[in-house]
Symmetry: C2
């Protein structure tokens, strides 16, 4: 039986309370999810590897729950102590809610991207924020 939206949102809110490792993370449900991923290449000097990863990331836009997709490389902004410009490729995706992010995570297009591209990166760091 399909659940209604109010019940679904309650589920998200309970989920947030249950899984948040961070005491400051008691976010109101219903915000957008900004999913930011930073990749460090296994072969940092390889433009071919970088471009293959960028092309792979671009393909993630085919997943229907992705509301916005940006792919980039470190910007030539001022080098300050607090700026980490050591990554090689970055992607920023926006989803309407946590459920859509989960749909993306398990989507065949995403799994195919990982299978085809994970040999390219040596390290990956993900930050997920819910907008308030």
């Amino acid at each position: 039986m399909p659940i209604n939206r109010r019940d679904a949102m309650k589920g998200v809110a309970l989920g947030a309370a249950a899984v948040a490792a961070n005491p400051a993370a008691a976010a109101p449900a219903g915000g957008k999810i900004v999913h930011h991923v930073f990749f460090w290449l296994k072969n940092p000097g390889s433009t071919a590897d970088r471009d293959a990863l960028i092309a792979g990331v671009r393909g993630l836009g085919k997943v229907e729950v992705v509301r916005r997709l940006e792919v980039g490389v470190p910007a030539s902004t001022e080098q300050r102590d607090v700026v980490d410009s050591s990554f090689h490729v970055s992607e920023m995706l926006v989803f309407d809610n946590v459920a859509d992010q989960k749909t993306y995570q398990d989507h065949p297009v995403h799994k195919d991207f990982i299978a085809k591209c994970e040999h390219l990166w040596g390290k990956v760091v993900v930050y997920d924020m819910v907008t308030v």
Copy 2:
């Protein structure tokens, strides 16, 4: 004398080549800048401190070169090894180009935010990407 846009873009491209510490960072000029900042509170358990920082970040939207501003807290997405959900507040700003990001960096509204809010955070990490 005002420089024309083509010369300005050349300047950005040369700047990118000159300052990039990262060999993979030879980005084409002209992309948007996605400026993502993660804050760790000095008092992680303080909802008042968190809310004061969120309010401060919201005020950054008054800077005229800010094309998009999102502020958030860790999302209740799945906890995986690669996900860093230890931060407390995050902001994501989009600028049209590196020059606009620099204008923002030096803007009185931004400097005022730092002066009023920097006592709230113990650590800050910034990632700047240029979209490709």
